[in-house]
C-alpha cells in the first residue's frame, strides 16, 4: 500500500504545534538492541529520525488501534505500543521515570479515536452548561437527547470508538485509557436510560449522513472561528436567559396576587 509520504512530512513541518518531542531508545526488531532516536509526536502520528536537525525521516508510526503499556521486562523505564495479534509491538525505553511517564501519558491521549470520544463528551457537557445557564432549571435531560446537535460529530467514528472503548478495557490495568473511563464517568451523573452514548452502537454503518451545515464555521483561522462560534452560541444563551427572566417575572406577579387572602 502506498502511503503518500510527502503529505505526512508536510504536515510534520507545518505551523501546527508539535505535541511532544525528545530522545527515546527504540528497540530493533531483529537483534533486540536499542537505538537512540529523536521522536516527534504530532496528532496521531509518531515520527522518528536519528537527530533533531536531520531532514531525513527514518519512519512514522500511525497511532490508531494500539495499546500503550508500561513494561520493565528487559529495560528500565521501558514502554511499548501494542497493535494486537498478528501485528507489531514497538518497544521503547526512556532515560528516566519522568520521561517514561511523560511519553506514556502523551501517547495514551494521541489517537484520533480518543480525541473523537473526548470531543463528543465535551460537546454534551457544553450543551448542558448552556442549558443550565439559560433556563436556570435542569432541562439537561431533554437537551442531552437532542440527536441533531451531536449527529454531526458521528462521522466515521461510531463503531470504531465503541471498539476502542472495548479494547481499552480488555488490556491491562496500566493501559486502561482515560478514554475508556470517559463514558463510564459521565454516565454516573445521569440516569442510564437517558444517556445518548447509546448512539455509538446505534449509528448504522450505512445510515444517513450526519447533519451538516449546523456547525457554523469550517475555517482555518482559530481566533476568528472561536469568536464567531462564541458569538453564535452566545445568541442562544442570551435568548434563553431572556425567556427565563420573563417567566420568572410572570411567576413573581402571580405569587404577589395571592399573598393576602381576605377570605
Amino acid at each position: 500500500m502506498k502511503l503518500h509520504e510527502k503529505i505526512l512530512t508536510h504536515y510534520l513541518s507545518c505551523t501546527s504545534p508539535v505535541d511532544k518531542e525528545g530522545y527515546l531508545y527504540k528497540k530493533k526488531e531483529r537483534n533486540a538492541t536499542y537505538q537512540r532516536r529523536w521522536f516527534v509526536l504530532k496528532a496521531n502520528l509518531l515520527f522518528y529520525q536519528e537527530r533533531p536537525a536531520d531532514r531525513h525521516l527514518l519512519g512514522v508510526i500511525v497511532l490508531e488501534r494500539c495499546a500503550v503499556r508500561r513494561a520493565e521486562s528487559d529495560a528500565q523505564f521501558a514502554f511499548s505500543l501494542v497493535f494486537g495479534p498478528g501485528l507489531k509491538t514497538y518497544r521503547f525505553a526512556a532515560v528516566d521515570r519522568q520521561t517514561q511517564e511523560s511519553w506514556v501519558k502523551a501517547l495514551l491521549s494521541a489517537s484520533h479515536c480518543y480525541l473523537s470520544l473526548l470531543v463528543r463528551d465535551l460537546g454534551r457537557q457544553y450543551e448542558e452548561a448552556k442549558q443550565q445557564q439559560g433556563s436556570g432549571e435542569s432541562r439537561s435531560s431533554v437537551t442531552a437527547l437532542k440527536p441533531s446537535t451531536y449527529s454531526f460529530l458521528f462521522t466515521a467514528q461510531g463503531p470504531t470508538t465503541a471498539a476502542v472503548v472495548r479494547e481499552g478495557r480488555s488490556h491491562s490495568a496500566s493501559t486502561v485509557l482515560q478514554a475508556s473511563s470517559i463514558p463510564t464517568k459521565v454516565v454516573a451523573k445521569k440516569s442510564p436510560k437517558l444517556w445518548p452514548r447509546r448512539n455509538a452502537y446505534v449509528t448504522p454503518l450505512n445510515g444517513p449522513a450526519p447533519l451538516y451545515g449546523e456547525w457554523p464555521l469550517v475555517g482555518f483561522d482559530p481566533l476568528e472561528d472561536f469568536r464567531k462560534l462564541h458569538d453564535y452560541y452566545g445568541q442562544e444563551v442570551k435568548k434563553a436567559r431572556e425567556e427565563w427572566l420573563r417567566s420568572r417575572q410572570a411567576e413573581e406577579e402571580r405569587s404577589d396576587e395571592d399573598l393576602i387572602d381576605l377570605g
Partner: protein, 159 residues
C-alpha cells in the same frame, strides 16, 4: 520512510460510515478518472480497487484543502499546491456534500479546535475545566493557543 503498513492496512478494514465507489483522478497531468472504493477512516482517506482487500493507497487528511468543484465533484489539494488536486466524482449532489463535510470534520486539527473551543466555553460557563476529571489538563495537545489568551485566566500559553 518506514511506516507500520500492516497496521495501517488493518485500520483501513475498520467499518466506516463514509465508504463508497467514486470516480477518482490523481493530481498529475495525464491522470485519468478511475473507479475506486474510497473509504474514510479516522483522518485517512484510503482508496481500493473494487473488491480488493488491501488499499492501493492512503492519504492523510491534514493540511489539505477540500473544495466543491461542481455539483457532483469535489477535490482535495495537498502540500499547499492548489493546482495539484485529487478529484472525486460522486453520484449525486447530496453525496458530494456529505463527503466534503465528512473529510473536513475528520481532520485531527479540526477536532482539536473543537475540543479547545468546548473546553474554554465550559470553563467560562461553569468555572470548571472539563479535562481535569480525565487527568489530561496539562497535556500539550489540549492547550489553548495564543489566539485565545484573552478568554480566561487559567489559559496556558503555547509558545
Amino acid at each position: 520512510m518506514r511506516f507500520n503498513e500492516k497496521e495501517l492496512v488493518s485500520l483501513s478494514r475498520q467499518p466506516s460510515e463514509m465508504a463508497a465507489e467514486l470516480g477518482m483522478r490523481g493530481p498529475k497531468k495525464g491522470d485519468v478518472v478511475k473507479k475506486r472504493l474510497v473509504k474514510l477512516v479516522v483522518n485517512f482517506l484510503f482508496y481500493f480497487r473494487t473488491d480488493e482487500e488491501e488499499p492501493i493507497g492512503a492519504l492523510l487528511l491534514e493540511q489539505c484543502r477540500v473544495e466543491r468543484e461542481d455539483s457532483q465533484t469535489f477535490s482535495i489539494a495537498f502540500l499547499d499546491e492548489a493546482e495539484r488536486k485529487y478529484l472525486f466524482e460522486c453520484d449525486s449532489e447530496e453525496q458530494c456534500g456529505e463527503w466534503v463535510d465528512s473529510i473536513i470534520k475528520a481532520s485531527y486539527e479540526f477536532m482539536r479546535k473543537n475540543l479547545i473551543f468546548y473546553r474554554t466555553e465550559i470553563h467560562r460557563l461553569t468555572g470548571k475545566d472539563p479535562l481535569e476529571q480525565y487527568g489530561i489538563s496539562d497535556e500539550t495537545r489540549f492547550q489553548v493557543s495564543n489566539g485565545l489568551q484573552l478568554m480566561s485566566p487559567w489559559v496556558k500559553y503555547v509558545a
